[in-house]
């Protein structure tokens, strides 16, 4: 105890105390916080639980009846696919207003997303969440998907799915690492700036072909050497001008300088 008393007035004692306090709080919270209730897979209770989640997390913007307010759109008829995409990729709940809702950390568990989706789907008919077989890249033709992707998607998302800029701070996101289900749902529901690609004009098989193309191309090595992010001639030109031209100028300066 004498050792402790002696160090009590050490300049760093306060810092140590604060750190100990913070760690203790975190550990205690993790140990004592209520765990997530295991949700039953019962449609009626899903809708009920989803409604509670909606009122607590979404109703501030979308309204108590989900009919939309101000800038927040109505959720009646957007379907379960829309909820699964927006909440499942962390775009919703929106963290801050801005040109576009960015992809962030997912705030809900899979069960909670399913409950929210069930509630929103109960408000009006809309596209449902596709099954795992419906989005299986193995059943798609990457070559045909590439042709469809180049005509319909590449102008915004880049030919390799690396994303690109739109106007006023909006952008088409990079598709690397997006799950097949979320890609399928995005085409089906047209989130934010993205238009809708209906199953009528772009069939589920077309969509699977696109998913097959994206999963194939994201794994392929870059045959030309450095891909430079697949951004295209701007990036390559920048490297040529800054790196290659600087090297050439360096050589010219060295040729013309006298030896010491």
């Amino acid at each position: 105890m004498t050792a402790l008393a002696a160090r009590r007035r050490h300049p760093l004692a306060g810092v140590v105390l604060v750190i100990v306090g913070l760690v203790a709080t975190g550990v205690l919270y993790a140990a004592l916080a209520p765990g997530r209730a295991g949700a039953a897979e019962d449609p009626a209770s899903d809708i009920e639980a989803g409604r509670a989640l909606f009122l607590a997390n979404c109703a501030t913007c979308h309204g108590m009846d989900a009919a939309g307010r101000n800038n927040a759109p109505s959720l009646i008829g957007v379907g379960a696919a829309s909820v699964d995409f927006q909440v499942g990729t962390g775009r919703m709940p929106l963290q801050a207003t801005g040109p576009q809702a960015p992809q962030t950390q997912v705030r809900f568990s899979d069960d909670e997303i399913r409950q929210l989706a069930a509630y929103v789907a109960s408000l009006g008919p809309g596209p449902g969440i596709p099954s795992a077989e419906e989005v299986d890249p193995a059943t798609g033709d990457p070559s045909r998907g590439a042709a469809i992707f180049r005509t319909n998607c590449a102008m915004c998302h880049n030919f390799a799915g690396k994303g690109g800029a739109l106007t006023r701070g909006k952008y088409a996101p990079n598709l690397d690492g997006t799950s097949p289900t979320h890609i399928f749902e995005a085409m089906l529901t047209g989130p934010q700036s993205m238009p809708v690609f209906d199953n009528g004009t772009m069939t589920p098989q077309d969509k699977r072909d696109i998913i097959a193309y994206l999963t194939t191309t994201s794994k392929q090595p870059s045959p030309g050497g450095f891909s430079l992010g697949f951004v295209g001639p701007v990036n390559e030109g920048l490297v040529a001008w800054i790196v290659a031209l600087a090297a050439l100028i360096g050589c010219a300066v060295w040729l013309g300088s006298k030896s010491s």
Binding site: I148, T167, Q192, P195, G200, P223, G224, S259
Partner: protein, 349 residues
Amino acid sequence: MSGHTPAPQSAPGREVVPADADRLLPERFENPGLPVHHARMGDTDPKAAKRAERQVATLFGISALGTLITLVVYFAVKFDTPMSFAEYMTRLRISTEGLGMGLFLALFGIGAGAVHWAKTLMPDEERVEERHLLRGSDADRDAAVTILKEGAAESGLGRRPLIRNSLIGALVLVPLPAVVLLRDLGPLPGDDLSTTMWTAGTRILTDPQGRPIKPADMQIGSIVHIVPEGLDKVPDYLEQKAKAAAILLRLDPADLDPKSQPGAYEGIVAYSKICTHMGCPVALYEQQTHHLLCPCHQSTFDVTQDCKVIFGPAKRPLPQLAITVDADGYLVAKHGFTQAVGPSFWERG
């Protein structure tokens, strides 16, 4: 200088140019001569010379290494066995990068070594070689004039006007084929730029799947890239596609401009996809703002204002393709484009 009125004291620049400036500037600048010769480290220090020698040898060694790398990569990376496309591309990449790097080292090593050798070790004394006079001697000049005069007299151009005039005629005619050959640049475009494969009743197909579209297939906010039916059957497929490519959008009918309503069908409108600025495909569609963006020069068209240009260098709206449905309920063109698609040109009808 004599007629100059002296500028008043307050005139700007008075202090900058002193009155006796012309006395300070010499009539001719003296030749400053060569700068003082500085001996290089290698000239005075045998150790430094030895070090430079080793550096040059190292650079030549790098060149030899580069040559070896080139040869090894050429023979080691094989393409003659059957392999998957991905494997082929991987080997191609290794081969290309290896050959390029090896050849770079081989050539750059020799060049850099030679330059370094010359700069550090070869004699370093300045020598001056005076330029000779440009003017020839008087005797040479007179001889040249005499030769020219003799030649003119011997040709007899002054005495034989027939030869002179026929030569002038031949020289005038010689450039004519060069002008006539311009004809081979091709036939004039005629109305090629004003007509597309879209005519009354042409069925609208999705691009690239080639499926006909029913209005019920499209919900509000959707986009479909479209081509005319029969496009895949024509021999000049790419030329026709470059003119006929269009987009089909469905909006809330209340959002559409009254001008575009006659050509719309239940909120579905079709517009040319070819930018009116430089002909890039205007295909970036922002569903919420209803803006179409051109990726090349950022021209922006507002679908709710009949594709009016709201930003960028394009000068006229995207032409609308009037649409309707046929007896089977599929979307078809009501008639062809009423104005030429693509970049504006001076004869645009």
